[in-house]
Symmetry: C2
Subunit: 211 residues, 2 copies
């Protein structure tokens, strides 16, 4: 497939999904996987798997399948998950703390290099990882100094927009937003929302639809 084709957003979301089972397969020593097998694990259509992959190249062998190790490498290259990303986190309440210490970020090559909060009680606290909680007022300075590339926003709704603006001004260009508001952002920057209460609202609706 031609390189210049526009790649659907939905495709790259699924690509990230394919990555995880492939890692487990590599660990277990599985050498080859078919689109059908991978599709079943990820709960998608086999044709979808093939189409998604072929936006990026021809990774498979007809009549055989995909080489697990090779496909894993290609996907990591596509998602830039073969290199480390530096994260900042703002809002060290229950959720912020849990995210900071969550193993899956480390596993996925995301590394926290700074933690911020606006509560004077918390500032200066030394966390188990060795990080020290910094005041929100130092975001500008530290984001540049430490080279923060993405940030996680775990602040209360009232603070989210203010903090997001600070982050964007400091050159952070991507935010994963756990707060329940949609933040304004410059054209060049990215925000993904992860307010899980909306997921529950969704479940509630669909649950009651099916009696």
């Amino acid at each position: 497939m031609s390189r210049d084709t526009k790649i659907p957003g939905a495709t790259i979301e699924r690509i990230a999904l394919y990555l995880r089972p492939l890692e487990r397969m590599e660990e277990k020593g599985t050498l080859v996987v078919s689109s059908e097998k991978l599709a079943k694990i990820c709960k998608v259509n086999p044709a979808q798997v093939r189409k998604d992959l072929c936006y990026f190249g021809e990774f498979g062998v007809r009549g055989v399948g995909y080489d697990v190790r090779e496909l894993l490498g290609e996907i990591k290259k596509i998602l830039l998950s073969d290199r480390q990303w530096k994260l900042g986190i703002v809002g060290m309440g229950n959720l912020g703390m849990a995210l900071l210490h969550h193993q899956n970020f480390q596993k996925r090559n995301f590394r926290f290099v700074a933690a911020f909060d606006s509560d004077p009680e918390k500032i200066g606290e030394i966390l188990p990882t060795g990080l020290i909680i910094q005041p929100v007022s130092r975001i500008r300075e530290l984001a540049e100094e430490l080279g923060i590339e993405m940030a996680i926003l775990a602040t209360p709704a009232t603070e989210s927009q203010g903090v997001a603006s600070l982050l964007f001004e400091a050159g952070v260009r991507a935010i994963l937003n756990f707060s329940p508001i949609q933040v304004r952002k410059p054209e060049c920057c990215l925000v993904v929302n992860a307010d899980f209460t909306v997921n529950l609202d969704n479940l509630a609706y669909h649950l009651s639809k099916s009696e």
Copy 2:
């Protein structure tokens, strides 16, 4: 619009999004809102707001807009968020603990009625909310007794499928899954995945695409 029209899944996701700013408007005493205003806050297209709403009825007044209080009521009815939902949570690590104590669930009428873990060290621990951590082996019994309607899965990947199956057998029909695997489920049940590391993978990809 006719009542029997199939309602897009994307629509109901956005409906949950509209709910939040409407609540803030009601608190502030705002009486009326236009599709344009609401759209701007939620970062969507105004026509989208109108179309979404008109799947459920005619809530607005031409030339005027939507009555905030009335619209809020209608949306709460649609999403069944005018009643309380009983939640269970499994996996009381950092993340599970943080979710259990997260204020936004309470605000949204989701109430935790049980917490489970498989670690003998944790079982019996009394949490700040008064809940006692129960062994996973009691899921069956307690889910029925307490009337758990949805569950949050914050277990390590290796345990997720097992626990999910237990929950489904116990009559829980909806799961919000924070672990990085796609669980098998009966036809009648629902799973929404909320593995936020895939969101970061997404951000990483799009970030590097835009230089």
